[in-house]
Symmetry: C2
Subunit: 163 residues, 2 copies
Amino acid sequence: MEIKPRTAWILVGCALLLVVTAAGAKTGALNVDERGILAADGAWARAAAAKDLETTVSFYAEDAVLMAPDRPAAQGRAAIRAVWSEEFKDPAFAISWHTETLTVPRSGELGFARGWYEATYTLDGRTVRERGKFLTVWRKQPGAWLVLVDMYNPDAPATPINP
Amino acid sequence: MEIKPRTAWILVGCALLLVVTAAGAKTGALNVDERGILAADGAWARAAAAKDLETTVSFYAEDAVLMAPDRPAAQGRAAIRAVWSEEFKDPAFAISWHTETLTVPRSGELGFARGWYEATYTLDGRTVRERGKFLTVWRKQPGAWLVLVDMYNPDAPATPINP
């Protein structure tokens, strides 16, 4: 079959439209609530990576709960600040995380995020690395999404980093 | 002030009405979704306490995720069954848990439960006890509430039980 120049241009146009639509579908799949949570989560992760205590803690709701392994639940911002403050004092401490799955109920006032984290810290005088998973519940408040529950646990016991 | 018999009966009636109303308010505070989740959670906990593998696993959605400490996330019922099967094979294994806080978004298709658990199991040849906390996401399906995400971690490292 011979394709005439005009037909060829129409085909190119259709192909471009398909690519744009596909790209649009990918970003368009996130609604305003999902984008709001992901933006807050990204800013929160950057604050924690920078060991910025006040900014890190500011992402928790006043009545938030931090459910960390090997310690009781920390209830409220003051208790949560104490946990992060202790972590940040460790010179070896470093953390990064990434949300992989996001679910927002239809009513849109809450959302929960799952993902992975990687942390480095001092344990019994040695620098260790830990990889694990988290589950975070976010709550929409006027003008902001804040963390209501923050829970994580490791995929395996932490292992020493060879110098 | 003298209280006449008739006034006394009215006062007794009012007092009874207050007691009944207070009792009603207590149970009435739970809506149909909250009662549904708590009933499913109670039946699930009884199945796990009885080491009934199939019933325990039946409370998870097909696409559920079990996020347990010191192992990667178990995705799907088959992977989750493998974890519970391993736990139940331990003759020392015992578990109980209790939901303390329940949050159901207005749209009612999901719910979040937090609470405590206590488990006994064999670790390095010794029987140990562990207490901790959990966060469970429930999803309403036709005729049933099923677990979508099940995550927990200990409040402290497990301690040996003295014989």
